[in-house]
């Protein structure tokens, strides 16, 4: 008995290792001619969902964008809207939109990509009981409230009323390739929103068995899944024969799933990945030095701000907010705390966006004299009161927030206190309930490439993410004016004026914009980064040899 077990175990391990030795080694690229071909191996975290209606996190979107295609796509450099599956997206009043589709596109299972495919997907996402994350994005479509009625007492014991309709009244099919979308209010930026994966179509077979479709997606894009989703391990995509549009460059895209970015970076260093779309913050400088020309850096569109609780008396005077903003030297914090991974913000709209301008906020560069003067004009800081600075725990925000506090203290002599003990969920709930007692850190990323995404949701009266409680009639009117402008370009001047109001009022203190940092391997021939949808794996070509 003794010893036998060990012998068996050792023998078993040895055999198994031999077996892998034989089957392994298929890692090399095959070599067709031309630019396309090869296997692109990319970093990914575990996606939440692979359905257009469910996936709203970065790892999901990266996969969904290759499996599915929508009405429009975005130009890689200018982020301008280009037609993809749509023939046209038109409106005369910016409220009723008519969408015509190109014919001939199908899903991988042969179902046609017609008007029904889009209406089905949008209605499925919006219907409350389906609990789909991207239901959020259907909020502008008329009739959304009927399919997802609000719970009268939030999380309380009363149950939410049953939806009174299963489909949104704003969506109407005209013929097989035409449908109309009626919005609650005019919105000139509507065409920019529908390139988001939440608006991609779904096959009937997918909606019928959403769980199966999540494991083995039925897409309509240039790639289809090879096998099924290997949770926490890998997702492999191959070319889809049913795709009629411009084909993708690599023959195969392999998403390797990592639990954290450090493990992903190690795998990249060991040559196991071709693209790493983000970098571990601590290795940023090292990557810059090591990969130089194979590192892609560009200003991003993720906004960090220190919100001002306008519902607290202390922060009601805009001169106080201006003075606080004037005492912060953003660049020095970026250099000291973040190794230069951010760009100081001087406006409210991402610098990569059409219509964005530098220097909208005149109080966003350090000027201690002016700060002191403004504070004095406002009657000074309440004696004995501390400035409280809030951030969520465990995400490293306390470091830079402390630097902000120190700079304010040095400039204006206001003592500060950090409140950084709330976990993210509770922190967000505090924000929703407007219970902050001082400046609070929050961020924002755009939902679509249109200036409005940086303005209305954050500062519009009563808007969802308006955590400052800011309300300004002139601002709201300018937003409405932009929303009903006759085209995307025509809307920009109104939005710019609205942004100017923010630059004076400072409902939040702009801090910085992120920088995109991605690295790619020597196998990559041309690296393509889309200004809206980030690394575009289907467009990245590999060296063929």
């Amino acid at each position: 008995m003794r010893g036998k077990f060990l012998k068996v175990a050792v023998a078993a391990t040895a055999t198994a290792m031999l077996a892998t030795a034989c089957s392994g080694g298929g890692d090399d690229n095959n070599e067709p001619a031309g630019e396309s071909g090869g296997t692109l191996r990319v970093y990914n975290a575990e996606p939440a969902f692979l359905t257009p209606s469910g996936g709203d996190d970065e790892p999901s979107l990266y996969v969904i964008r290759q499996l599915y295609r929508g009405l429009v796509k975005y130009n890689a450099e200018t982020s301008a809207v280009e037609m993809d599956l749509a023939e046209s997206v038109d409106s005369t009043d910016q409220k009723l939109w008519t969408i015509k589709l190109k014919s001939g596109y199908t899903f991988d299972n042969g179902e046609p990509v017609n008007a029904d495919a889009f209406l089905r997907s949008w209605n499925y996402a919006a219907y409350g009981p389906n609990a789909q994350n991207n239901g959020y994005f259907m909020k502008r479509i008329a009739g959304k409230a009927d399919v997802a009625p609000a719970d009268p007492d939030g999380e309380g014991p009363k149950e939410a009323p049953k939806p009174t309709a299963e489909t949104m009244s704003g969506l109407k099919k005209v013929d097989d390739l035409t449908f109309t979308v009626e919005l609650d209010a005019p919105f000139s930026g509507f065409p920019t929103t529908i390139g988001y994966p939440g608006f991609f179509p779904m096959a009937q077979a997918c909606v019928d068995d959403i769980a199966a479709c999540n494991e083995k997606p039925i897409g309509n894009g240039p790639y289809k899944i090879d096998g099924s989703w290997q949770h926490n391990v890998a997702i492999n995509l191959v070319r889809s024969d049913s795709w009629k549009g411009e084909p993708g460059k690599p023959d195969r895209i392999e998403y390797r799933i990592f639990a954290d970015i450090d493990a992903g970076y190690a795998a990249f260093q060991a040559g196991e990945l071709d693209v790493l779309y983000t970098l571990p913050p601590a290795r940023y400088k090292e990557a810059q030095a090591q990969y130089g020309d194979r590192m892609y850096e560009q200003p991003g569109d993720s906004f960090t701000y220190v919100g001002m609780p306008l519902y607290q008396d202390t922060f009601k005077d805009k001169r106080i907010r201006q003075a606080l903003s004037l005492s912060i030297d953003r660049q020095s914090i970026i250099d000291a705390v973040f190794d230069g991974r951010f760009t100081p913000a001087s406006g409210y709209v991402a610098p990569t966006f059409e219509g964005a301008r530098e220097g909208v906020c005149k109080y966003c560069t350090k000027d201690v004299e002016k700060a002191k003067q403004l504070l004095a004009e406002a009657g000074g800081w309440p004696a004995g009161e501390k400035l409280i600075l809030w951030a969520n725990a465990g995400a490293g925000h306390d470091l830079w927030l402390q630097a902000v506090g120190d700079q304010i203290k040095e400039a204006l002599g206001i003592d500060y206190e950090l409140k950084v003990n709330l976990q993210f969920a509770e922190y967000l709930e505090t924000a929703d309930q407007k219970k902050f007692t001082g400046g609070f850190r929050l961020g924002w990323g755009p939902d679509y490439p249109f200036m409005e995404t940086f303005l209305y949701p954050l500062y519009g009266t009563g808007a969802g993410s308006n955590n400052s409680g800011y309300s300004n009639e002139a601002f709201d009117n300018l937003m409405k004016q932009g929303d009903s402008a006759e085209s995307i370009q025509a809307a920009i001047p109104s939005y710019q004026q609205a942004e100017d109001i923010l630059g004076e009022d400072l409902p939040v203190i702009p801090m910085w914009w992120n920088k995109v940092g991605a690295v790619y391997s020597e196998n990559v021939d041309q690296f393509v980064w889309n200004a809206v949808s980030d690394a575009d794996y289907g467009a990245i070509s590999l060296k063929q040899n």
Binding site: T13, A21, A150, A259, A263, G464
Partner: protein, 353 residues
């Protein structure tokens, strides 16, 4: 023997219930004090309340007791009728969970609406492979080193084993893991990968900074060795001391005096008796290795149980933490029972009644 096993199995019940209550209470407290984890899913975008409520309900965070700080969620006020035994209360979230787990084998779903049982089924093969590699590594190398050192106390081998084991014991596993990943997996691996004559299974498979689907076993060798390293040191030291003690025992002297070969004296008489404490340790160590796997799997990106627990704890997925840790507790209990039974096989003096 049979009665002993039954008694031990009955002892499992309070242990498992106790752990489950602790886990349940801790994860409930986490939700009560740090907020609804579903809200965090949306980040900066404030979801509309209907959507938030629908998703909260579906994921099982809607129980009202999760809003009352400190409430152990044992009982709730009966919605209708007089409740359980006329007390006006009915069994709460904890009993719902117990009922689901033990009567319906339903461990709940995670924040991504996947069944916990599916998650575990996906993850278990990786963890088992890793554990087998770790235990085999620490048993074979640890015992061999311990025997070599023990037989020749004070020799060079003895000192080499003593010093190297102290070194390994004093390095925490998360440091060892990261250092091995960076230097063995990345740096040394890159040197190997530049040499064409080395087969891919070695240069790409074994010397890798993490798990690879293309080399499902080869890429687990180094993570397994890291996981086993800590216990390897303890195993070696235990064996060494035990051998040194037994080699001077009366029965070994008798065996030698009888004229038995050295091989038989060491192999059968000394080693068999010296291994009792080592086996105990290895058995208990399966539990510790499971805990170590939480760290090792995260560092080496092994999609096993340990990484699952790490990710669930980070995002506050109560159902996953409760379900997986309950299963781990069962594994440890069963392993301990098996170790106790093995004693009787190894040592004829031990009898269970």
């Amino acid at each position: 023997m049979g009665r002993y096993v039954i008694r031990r199995l009955l002892q499992f019940i309070p242990t498992v219930l106790g752990t489950m209550f602790l886990l349940h209470y801790m994860t409930s407290l986490a939700v009560q004090f740090s907020g609804n984890p579903v809200r965090a899913l949306f980040g900066d975008r404030t979801p509309d309340p209907a959507l938030l409520a629908a998703i909260t309900e579906r994921l099982g965070y809607a129980d009202p007791c999760l809003d009352k700080r400190g409430d152990p969620c044992l009982w709730r006020e009966a919605e209708s009728g007089s409740g359980w035994l006329g007390t006006g209360y009915e069994p709460g979230l904890f009993f719902d969970r117990l009922g689901n787990i033990f009567f319906h084998f339903d461990f709940g779903i995670n924040l991504r609406q996947r069944e916990v049982t599916d998650l575990v089924a996906d993850a278990i093969p990786f963890t088992l492979k890793l554990l087998v590699i770790a235990i085999v590594f620490e048993a074979v190398v640890g015992i061999a080193a311990g025997v070599l050192a023990g037989l020749r106390g004070g020799s060079f081998t003895d000192y080499a084993v003593k010093i190297s084991t102290v070194f390994v014991i004093s390095v925490p596993i998360f440091v060892l893991g990261v250092v091995v990943r960076e230097f063995v997996g990345v740096k040394f691996g890159n040197v190997l990968r530049d040499q064409d004559w080395i087969p891919d299974v070695i240069s790409v498979g074994v010397f890798t900074p993490g798990f690879k689907p293309d080399y499902p076993l080869a890429s687990l060798v180094i993570p397994g060795m890291v996981l086993g390293a800590l216990s390897l040191a303890t195993t070696a030291r235990l064996t060494r001391t035990s051998i040194m003690e037994n080699i001077r025992a009366d029965y070994v002297r008798t065996a030698k005096a009888k004229g038995l070969t050295n091989k038989r004296v060491i192999g059968v008489h000394t080693l068999r008796n010296s291994l009792i404490p080592v086996i105990t340790f290895l058995g208990v160590d399966i539990g510790a290795a499971m805990a170590g796997a939480v760290v090792t799997e995260t560092i080496f990106n092994v999609p096993g149980i340990g990484r699952l627990v790490t990710m669930a704890a980070r995002s506050g997925e109560s159902s996953v933490v409760v379900g997986v840790v309950t299963m781990l507790v069962l594994v440890v209990l069963v392993a301990n029972l098996l170790v106790d039974l093995l004693y009787a096989v190894l040592d004829p003096r031990i009898r269970y009644e």
